[in-house]
């Protein structure tokens, strides 16, 4: 394969780089770089900036207002944006719901919802998981019962990321209890301010609020909010899982994390010299660099196959497993780089407007919390065990 970008690709890279330099607010880049908490307003602001250049929906087909980026262009965009410390896009509407609507939604749904995702009128969250249905998602229990021209929803979703900010949630619900569990699931769009929807926070182990429980009690949803056909929701959800390979490896995030780690290790002292020069530390850092260099090419190879129209396969699972483990190892080494200053943790200091002197180096406070928080990446989006099961089933022929 050709490892070099084409002239057009290089030009695109320059374009994105210039955009980030000009349009990415320093305030946001600083927050991202220093692992501070982003507010809803920050996320909305950044989406609007990206949208002003068409970048927010760059990967969408032209028919839906996108730029029809191919996988290479998406990779370039992702690498440039993360290198500049641009906030990661909120994926739920943009990358999870939109492709489903494009493939299976009605023309009315497409015309109504897609522009609202692009211009930020809607903030979506994803209502798949339930307390009893995690890896075994098909066992989900939340029901939607037809009543005239409404569905009546009852049940509970959980782990709903950013549910506290969202005004809309797309849900997998049970519309048929007979037969195979997969065959009784429907995909439905719900307004979060419908009576009977209640959001309760779940606090993560390092003290942040990013996920929620969402409870549904007799929530009446118009039938036109059903996506596609009743009882076909599982197929739509699966479609998304196999087609969403771009970005899953998180190469851009890994590169940004690694360069931040180098910066920290240059500043940290060990025996009067930068930690970066310590052979023990350098060995660990180099191993990560070796993995990342290979990962970057693995990612390109797999996404290029996507461009060439090869059917998506279990390679996506490889990207998920290797990508998350790699980023977690960067978080781990960053924590270690701090020495004793990994311990202090002042939660308020992660919010904007905190003006007190930092404890120890100014980059130290969020690092350990981040390490713990990122343990989630090997759990959500199909746990790494589930991904390995997919690889085993589909590639080994055992």
């Amino acid at each position: 394969m050709d490892l070099n970008y084409t002239a057009e690709e290089l030009a695109f890279q320059q374009e994105v780089r210039a955009f980030m330099e000009e349009k990415l607010p320093k305030r946001l880049a600083d927050k991202v770089k220093h692992h501070k908490r982003l507010t809803k307003e920050d996320m909305v602001e950044w989406h609007a900036i990206l949208n002003s250049a068409g970048y927010l929906t760059g990967h969408w087909p032209k028919a839906f207002g996108g730029l029809e980026w191919n996988a290479i262009e998406r990779t370039i965009f992702d690498e440039e944006m993360t290198a500049a410390n641009g906030p990661r896009q909120v994926p739920f509407g943009l990358n999870m719901l939109a492709p489903v609507l494009m493939a299976f939604g009605s023309p009315e749904q497409q015309q109504y919802y897609l522009p609202r995702i692009a211009d930020g009128q809607d903030f979506w969250c994803q209502g798949y998981s339930e307390p009893g249905a995690g890896s075994d998602l098909a066992s989900l229990k939340m029901t939607a019962q037809r009543d005239g021209d409404h569905y009546v929803l009852n049940g509970q979703k959980t782990w709903t990321t950013l549910g506290q900010y969202a005004n809309k949630i797309f849900c997998l619900v049970r519309t048929n209890k007979e037969g195979k569990p997969q065959e009784g699931i429907s995909f439905i769009l719900v307004d979060m301010d419908t009576p009977g929807v209640e959001v309760r926070p779940i606090i993560l182990l390092e003290g942040t609020h990013e996920v929620n429980e969402v409870w549904f009690t007799d929530v009446r949803v118009p039938v036109e909010n059903l996506v596609g056909e009743e009882n076909k929701g599982w197929t739509y959800a699966k479609y998304l899982l196999v087609h969403e390979r771009s970005g899953i490896a998180g190469v851009g995030a890994a590169m940004a994390g690694l360069s931040y780690l180098r910066e920290i290790a240059q500043d940290q002292q060990k025996d009067g010299k930068p930690l970066l020069e310590d052979p023990f530390f350098a060995a660990r850092l180099s191993e990560i660099e070796i993995d990342l260099a290979a990962m970057r090419t693995t990612n390109l190879r797999i996404t290029q196959a996507d461009n060439d129209g090869a059917p998506p396969g279990p390679e996506t699972s490889m990207l998920k497993v290797k990508g998350t483990v790699l980023r977690q190892s960067i978080n781990d080494l960053t924590r270690r780089a701090l020495g004793p200053y990994a311990m202090p943790f002042v939660s308020e200091a992660l919010d904007a407007g905190y003006n007190e002197e930092p404890i120890g180096p100014d980059y130290a406070n969020p690092i350990a919390g981040d390490y713990f928080n990122h343990r989630k990446t090997s759990i959500y989006g199909g746990s790494n065990e589930v991904q390995r099961n997919i690889i085993s089933k589909m590639m080994m022929g055992l």
Binding site: Q269, D278, F345, R375
Partner: protein
């Protein structure tokens, strides 16, 4: 036995919610609980009889801290073990303070590490300038465990110069409310407390010196050896608890119609975790048994243990969360708190790499 008593206390009176309440209090722990623990003799178990205690061997310390780890106890056992061990090298009146520590009345903290010193024990820049009748201390001490609540600080300083010099390190006992002692307390990510301490022209009398001039570093090595054993045993207790919770979860959580523990992919990893736990337990025994051996032997076993706990502890902590799925990521469920403590112990008294390097320098096991 005292360790059994500690175990019972933790099981019966120290559920995780109580622990979180103590941690969230302004002090970062409960004074009442501390008094009760003192009453039960749990603090005394860490010190030898000659210092007013009823224990003080490696095994006494290890057994006690294993229980502390099982309960994620936030009361300041570690800081007082460190401070008390230092004072045990001191004058008779300083040893009397150890008795007050054992009684739960007086609190100590060990103010040794400095801002850019990382884990290097000889990295002391703080100075103690001799005056006619004492010393004047100046310098900065970093991440002093339980430093914000202590009544007295054990401070390391240089008398002759102001650049690190192993022969010049000397320890001093400083009342924490002395003029010129500025403390900034804060929480740690795993629920404990520490402080940054600035010493600005702090005047102490001549008899504030602990041990002899220039003897500081050898006392520090004794203190840190005991502290390292203690936190490794604490990690073992936390590992026990994390493994118990995970095993229970594998048996009760059902997905795909079966308990997730039926999946061999998880069984094998659980098997590895349990094996590593036994390795760590053996490491604790080795280190406890050599705590009062020659410095070389002691340090080899201490470093071997700390490296092992850093490596395998991290694996066990991460796997415990992973095998719980989403629930393992929550504040409300205990396993994440055990994981945090286990991992953050890597940042006390030297991490995996620090001890690997030290093992290499020390050479073969004595």
């Amino acid at each position: 036995m005292l360790a059994d008593m500690a175990g019972r206390f933790v099981r019966e009176q120290y559920p995780i919610d109580t622990r979180h309440e103590h941690a969230a209090a302004e002090l970062g722990f409960s004074r009442e609980s501390w008094a009760e623990m003192a009453e039960l003799g749990l603090i005394g178990a860490l010190f030898r009889e000659e210092n007013g205690g009823f224990g003080g061997t490696g095994f006494d310390i290890a057994l006690m801290f294993e229980e502390i780890g099982r309960g994620l106890v936030v009361e300041p056992f570690l800081a007082n073990l460190l401070g008390g061990t230092a004072l045990a090298h001191g004058s008779d009146s300083q040893k009397e303070i150890v008795e007050a520590v054992i009684g739960g009345e007086t609190l100590l903290a060990f103010a040794h590490g400095e801002p850019t010193g990382r884990y290097d024990l000889a990295h002391v820049h703080t100075t103690a300038k001799p005056t006619a009748d004492g010393y004047v201390l100046n310098g900065n001490k970093s991440v002093v465990i339980s430093g914000d609540s202590a009544d007295f600080l054990v401070v390391s300083a240089l008398i002759e110069g102001d650049q690190p010099n192993e022969e010049d390190v000397t320890l001093f006992l400083v009342p924490a409310d002395q003029d010129g002692v500025h403390r900034r307390g804060y929480p740690t990510i795993d629920g404990y407390r520490a402080a940054e301490i600035a010493l600005k022209d702090v005047v102490v009398p001549a008899d504030a010196m602990i041990g002899a001039k220039g003897q500081g570093l050898s006392i520090v090595h004794d203190v840190v050896a005991r502290g390292t054993l203690a936190v490794c045993a604490e990690a073992l207790g936390a590992i026990d608890a994390a493994i118990d919770l995970t095993l229970e979860y594998l048996k009760t959580r059902k997905q795909f119609g079966v308990p997730i523990g039926k999946f061999q992919a998880l069984q094998h990893r659980m098997a590895d975790m349990m094996t590593e736990r036994e390795q760590i337990r053996s490491g604790v025994i080795n280190a406890a048994g050599h705590l009062d051996a020659t410095a070389g032997e002691r340090d080899w076993h201490i470093s071997a243990l700390k490296n092992l706990v850093g490596r395998s502890g991290r694996m066990i902590a991460e796997e415990s969360i992973q095998m719980h799925g989403g629930i393992g990521m929550t504040w409300e469920y205990a396993v994440g708190h055990y994981a945090k403590r286990i991992v953050m112990i890597d940042h006390l008294f030297g991490d995996v790499d620090y001890h690997l390097e030290r093992i290499i320098k020390l050479g073969k096991a004595a």
